[in-house]
């Protein structure tokens, strides 16, 4: 994690975050998450029934490194909503349980 991420990968990340209202950087895909935390994040988004994009960091080492610098956050998954970093799966779960995430994502309650 000590190597500086290159500016190009940060630009690509900014682009992905900018053009998708809801985007989850994760390990694996929505259908086949490759890590328990990513799986939990997907379960929450699916439960809310919102449309989202995913980016599989395992397919792209530059994004995998870059995303940590981009948000100053050491782990994946990472959720971004309308350009803002929301948090990882623990924060998603807390916000889901309190109803904040539903509000943020404009999802129907329940």
């Amino acid at each position: 994690m000590s190597d500086a991420s290159n500016p190009e990968s940060l630009t690509r990340i900014a682009d992905l975050v900018g053009k998708n209202d809801i985007v989850l950087f994760m390990k694996g895909t929505a259908l086949f998450p490759q890590c328990g935390f990513s799986s939990r994040a997907i379960a929450i988004l699916d439960r809310l029934g919102v449309q989202y994009e995913t980016v599989d960091v395992l397919q792209d080492p530059e994004i995998r490194q870059g995303i940590k610098a981009y948000s100053e956050w050491p782990t994946v998954p990472q959720l971004y909503v309308r350009g803002e970093f929301v948090g990882g799966s623990d924060i998603m779960m807390e916000m889901f349980e309190s109803g904040e995430l539903q509000q943020l994502l404009g999802a129907e309650a329940g």
């Binding site: 956050w73 050491p74 782990t75 807390e94 916000m95």
Partner: protein, 82 residues
Amino acid sequence: MAMAASEIERLIKAAIPDAEVVIRDLAGDGDHYAARVVSRSFAGLSRIRQHQQVYAALGGRMGGELHALQLQTAVPQMEKSK
């Protein structure tokens, strides 16, 4: 690569001296933990900033040496409800 729960607690307390730290070893393998950290220093900070302080305390081990740490942060209850 694993890390002892006591070491995680030590690092967090070194950086956040008033922190109450409760750590659970989720899988019994010294590699998957859940931590709850309560500190007055979190008051007024967003959840992201609170978690970032804990990650900073762990000094880059998170995501490396320490694979899985479920994290929950909070401000002491007394401070919240006045």
